[in-house]
């Protein structure tokens, strides 16, 4: 699939060259892009970019944050820019694709190289969805330490705002955020546990002027999009959806009072099966079988051994 996509070379003089990127002190002279879009679309793609950066070794908390924030950006004109690496990067691309958000992968290597190769399927999906692969290197140049830093500058340069999901101290995430600060871009970050290493960097960013966000609403606001629903409305919607499901469902007939209780409990926090058992004081076997029904109905999902309520 990726072979079909042609590589286009864009010079700084070209009209196609992203305007935001021109504003940084050292814009790349040439960028190489791969993608299939109609003329004119490309400028729109570069219009409302948000860079999403974070740790390669992401916690399950970080994963949930991405999913929950992106769910609120669903089918907006925002473009998610990230670095196509393990962890937060790839999760961002995946979630963007899941929620129909356009996404750009900025590669630290030659435009023709898929690195890491294990994510070829994400690569192809990005191209298929009308997203872009972008690099300042041609051919199959392998990534080097410094090219990652160079790439981070492009991510910061392309974006209007940068969302730092999980940043350890001394991480690439902080480098990107530094660039973003130099270029006067908005930096968003997320609150976390004070005991967590990956939160230390977030806090440092906060001290330097980054803004904590707790949902995607703030990002919509920043990009001037309509605000969508309030958090409380989401909850109501979830409940409504739940009651609909309950009556329509073909898997679970009859009265079942445990499911709403489970759902309610999970709305507040994610729980393991043992947590649920202690909370609801019901036999595990009952909880387990009910969870199966709820997973199949899409009411809850499991992640890292914990169950979460599906709000979106």
């Amino acid at each position: 699939m990726s072979k079909q996509a042609r590589v286009t070379e864009i010079e700084t003089s070209s009209k196609k060259y992203p305007k935001n990127l021109l504003k940084i002190p050292d814009p790349p002279e040439k960028i190489y892009i791969k993608g299939r879009m109609v003329k004119g679309e490309i400028q729109a793609l570069f219009e409302n970019c948000i860079g999403v950066v974070g740790s390669r070794s992401m916690t399950s908390y970080g994963k949930r944050v991405i999913s929950s924030v992106f769910a609120e950006l669903i089918k907006s004109d925002i473009t998610v820019v990230s670095g196509f690496m393990y962890g937060v990067d790839i999760e961002s691309h995946k979630n963007a694709l899941k929620y129909g958000i356009k996404t750009i992968a900025v590669m630290p290597c030659g435009i023709d190289l898929i690195n890491p190769p294990g994510f070829r399927y994400v690569y192809d999906m990005i191209l298929e969805s009308g997203g872009l692969i972008l690099s300042e290197y041609n051919g199959k140049i392998p990534p080097r330490r410094y090219t990652y830093v160079r790439r981070n500058r492009i991510i910061a340069g392309l974006s209007k705002a940068v969302l730092a999901v999980e940043a350890s101290l001394k991480s690439g995430t902080l480098i990107t955020a530094d660039f973003a600060q130099k270029y006067n871009k908005k930096i968003f970050t997320i609150p976390g546990s004070i005991f967590s290493n990956v939160f230390q960097g977030n806090y440092q960013l906060y001290k330097k002027g980054a803004e904590f966000i707790i949902s995607g609403r703030r990002i919509r606001e920043f990009f001037g999009l309509n605000l969508g629903m309030k958090d409380s409305q989401y909850k109501e919607k979830g409940e409504e959806r739940f009651s609909n499901k309950k009556t329509n469902s073909n898997v679970s007939k009859g009265k079942n009072e445990l499911k709403p209780k489970i759902y309610q409990a999970l709305l507040n926090e994610s729980m393991t099966i043992d947590d649920l058992e202690e909370h609801l004081k019901e036999p595990v076997s009952k909880i387990l079988s009910n969870l199966t029904f709820m997973v199949l109905e899409g009411l809850v999902f499991e992640e890292g051994g914990k169950y979460n309520a599906n709000k979106s």
């Binding site: 740790s55 390669r56 070794s57 916690t59 399950s60 908390y61 393990y86 890491p116 350890s168 546990s193 005991f195 967590s196 290493n197 990956v198 073909n250 898997v251 007939k253 393991t272 099966i273 043992d274 058992e277 202690e278 004081k281 036999p283 595990v284 076997s285 009952k286 387990l288 079988s289 009910n290 969870l291 199966t292 029904f293 997973v295 199949l296 499991e302 992640e303 890292g304 051994g305 914990k306």
Partner: protein, 515 residues
């Protein structure tokens, strides 16, 4: 002058009859030789015997003594030829007659006493099979050997004891159990199975894994637990033993045979009624796990026969060791072939595997960051995947215990292992009644054909399963595993057919790539 005394030889768990021929020549220089492919342990018995006879206040003949272990072309090993050889010499020297029938077996000590010797149970089983009425074994092994009906077991305390018995001065009485009317020595069972160091009642909370343990114990399903360090995986695995029903007489014999062969039975102990729990370290060698050696001896999988084989840090085991488990899990035995011949050892065990989600253990942890490179995690996972996972029916993620104070509720829910054991015995009984005609005892042993005959799904249960296959991307293999586990759940529920909630629960135990 020549005399023949009966004894035995072991090859694996097989026992072969051996004639110990002792000859004292009337002419020739004094010497003492043993022939008939003896191992070093037998060769050395010359010194033990000489000292033992002298220390028993008897005369050791200063003549040319030749001992032959017939048949002379098979290798013999073990210290138990001491007794027959010593007895042969004594009888020739003192001119006493030894009865021809009985088998003599035992290692002598320098002071003339007879020590606890490995393999006593095998000898008495051999005696029963070959209709040998009497056997003479060390007094410490008498209880073990007497567990077999129809054999008179004489426990010999010392060489002089035996001498007095044969000359008729003082009788040794055959060992007798005090048994109840079922023919089982009652106090043995209760004594052995009553107290477990890891009882289920010691585990507070963790109801999820406890439930999985019950299902695993009831249906004989293999189990894998994945969770970060400190989640209590080891403690949980150990408590599995306490909820398994005690061994039946025939099973106890099978288990004790293996332990007896390796000299792992207690002096003065009878049959082992406790299910064995084996937890080999992950640095174990292939031979240590499967069994082997130039004269093949059983490995950990055979020591775990009828019990639990717990493999902590499952992904850290060498690949060859993991792959070697496949065939025994399927067949319930393992055949070890070496140049001296091939031996089959039983190896029907319940596999309980535990693994961290990644090498550092914190992948997906709520608060602690995982420090492993992705490539390392992939390699770590690769060991888990593949054919070995096919043979594991129940998969549970274990969350770390993060609280030190437990609610009254979870404390009130604590159950004693003995109660659970009763429920599980009932469920196992049901299975055995249903499956005995197929030659199996547990749900986990069912193949697809047997499942088609015995597992009836209610219509809505089947709908649910088909729907899950679609939505959760289940493979055909996990489809059948879910039915097997659901069948066990329905057995625990005392329900004849598989209901929708049984299937729904079973779906939760399928293999999920954890994070």
């Amino acid at each position: 002058m020549l005399i023949k005394v009966k004894s035995v030889s072991f090859f694996g768990l097989d026992v072969i009859g051996v004639d110990v021929e002792v000859n004292i020549a009337s002419r020739g220089l004094p010497s003492f030789d043993i022939v008939g492919l003896p191992h070093k342990s037998i060769d050395e018995s010359r010194h033990r015997i000489k000292a033992a006879i002298q220390n028993s206040n008897m005369e050791f003949p200063n003549k040319k003594i030749t001992v032959n272990l017939a048949p002379a072309d098979i290798h013999k090993e073990g210290s138990f030829y001491d007794l027959p050889i010593a007895l042969g010499i004594l009888s020739l020297e003192q001119g006493i007659k030894i009865p021809k029938g009985p088998v003599f077996f035992g290692e002598v000590s320098l002071d003339g006493s007879i020590r606890h010797t490995k393999g006593a149970l095998l000898v008495s089983l051999y005696a029963k099979e070959n209709k040998i009425g009497d056997i003479f074994v060390p007094v410490d092994c008498a209880k073990e050997a007497a567990s077999v009906d129809g054999v008179n077991v004489f426990g010999v305390d010392s060489l002089s004891d035996l001498y007095e018995h044969i000359t008729g001065k003082k009788q040794i009485k055959p060992y007798r159990f005090r048994t109840n009317n079922l023919g089982v020595c009652k106090n043995e069972i209760t004594k052995n199975t009553k107290d477990f160091s890891n009882d289920l009642k010691n585990i507070i909370g963790q109801e999820h894994i406890k439930r999985a343990l019950k299902i695993c114990a009831a249906g004989g399903h293999n189990l894998i637990m994945i969770g970060p360090p400190g989640a209590g995986k080891t403690m949980i695995a150990r408590s599995l033993i306490s909820i398994l029903p005690p061994l039946m007489q025939s099973e106890a014999v099978e288990v004790t045979k293996i332990y007896s062969l390796l000299g792992k039975t207690k002096a003065g102990g009878a049959l082992i009624y406790n299910r064995p729990f084996r937890a080999p370290h992950h640095t174990i060698s292939y031979t240590g796990m499967v069994g082997g050696g130039s004269t093949p001896t059983p490995g950990e999988i055979s020591l775990a026969h009828r019990g639990v084989l717990f493999m902590d840090e499952f992904s850290e085991f060498p690949r060859s060791v993991l792959e070697a488990l496949r065939q025994p899990i399927e067949d319930g035995f393992v055949t070890v072939s070496r140049s001296r011949g091939s031996v089959t050892f039983p190896a029907k065990f319940l596999l309980v595997a535990a693994s961290n989600p990644c090498p550092c253990g914190y992948l997906g942890h709520e608060k602690i960051e995982c420090t492993c490179p992705k490539s390392k995690i992939q390699r770590y996972r690769a060991k888990l995947s593949g054919p070995i996972l096919d043979r594991i029916d129940i998969y549970v993620g274990v969350a770390p215990v993060q609280k030190l104070v437990f609610s009254e509720y979870s404390k009130s829910k604590l159950t004693d292992s003995s109660e659970v054991r009763f429920i599980i015995s009932q469920a196992r009984k049901q299975q055995a009644e249903r499956l005995i005609k197929f030659g199996i005892l547990c749900n986990s042993e069912m193949d697809n054909n047997i499942m088609k005959e015995t597992c009836i799904l209610k219509q809505d249960a089947e709908n649910l399963l088909n729907m899950s296959v679609d939505k959760l991307n289940l493979s055909a293999r996990s489809y059948f595993k879910i039915i097997k586990v659901a069948k066990t759940i329905s057995d625990l529920d005392n329900s004849g057919e598989i209901l929708i909630n049984h299937i729904a629960e079973a779906i939760q135990y399928r293999y999920k790539p954890y994070y």
